[in-house]
Symmetry: C5
């Protein structure tokens, strides 16, 4: 799973109807995730701009939605309180 | 999910029959997606050249098609109106 | 999905029996796909050396085979006639 | 599958209820895994800080949990005793 | 799918019971696979040190095992006899 920070949101009126009602946030990924700097995730936790979030990707992501048959591949599954590191 | 811009299309007469009727677009991925600059996605929204689009990948992508048993791993699920960023 | 060019083939006599009868081609991936330069894909279209092909990866790839319970994660699903780009 | 070393843990009170009871560890990935330096994995083995661990990702990861319908895409499936290399 | 060369093996006594009986090999990936230099795969073909092998990843990998409900995401599905390239 990824750690990231919410940095924006996007709107798409012409879209797959199954996506209706979902909020899509643009999340900047932590540098440690490698070259992918950001992704778009459906939000399921009420996250807002600047929140540090936990993201699940792939088919697993859909299990966080009420209806797992929705064509999304990344979902915000938690708003992170703290990360304790021991380098 | 990825943000990208439609930059071309492709034709393949000799292909898996299950792909018949689908339109395949070449999408340039936003730099923030890392080193992968582009991918091919089936279009489900009527997107055209220059449109900024939202792409779902993996098994989730197939859920956007009428028949989820079609061998595609990337589908355009929305045409983006606007992206609001707060760096 | 990826665009690539067939550049070789491989043989493996000691392999999972479920793979018997499948042809495995080595495909050079288009530079735009990022740092992964090539992959091995099962061929389902009769592609040959030098052909430009369309590749589906992940669980979706298996849906292109007669038996989707075969352990492959990349399948050539089309031989590309033309790609029209508008940079 | 990845080899990594546990370097931290994270807490998220506001999260998908299905994740309740799971421990999330931050794992530094071995350099050989490429540019992705770390990821977050649910722990299923009682791993602790500094442990070298084996990680499964994607839908396969969920099979290591009692309930495979939990939205996680990376699980620690083993604590590695030794790795014997022959360069 | 990936081409790689077996360069080591690993042992983990404290692991998910479902992994019991499986042999885990460390495989160096061909440079052409991009920045990921190696991965860990369950072996299903009796491969040994120095063998050049064919690897399936993701959910497809599990289909090569007798029990597809085992939490692994990479399996060696063949020992390669020869690769014929035509640059």
């Amino acid at each position: 799973m990824f750690i990231g920070r919410v940095k924006g949101s996007l709107w798409a009126t012409r879209k797959d109807e199954k996506l209706n009602g979902l909020k899509f946030l643009v999340v900047a990924l932590d540098e440690s995730n490698g070259p992918q700097n950001s992704l778009v995730a459906a939000d399921n936790t009420g996250a807002g701009l600047g929140d540090v979030v936990l993201i699940t990707t792939g088919s697993s992501a859909r299990l966080s939605l009420d209806n797992p048959e929705i064509p999304v591949d990344a979902v915000i599954v938690g708003i992170i309180d703290s990360v304790e590191m021991n380098e």
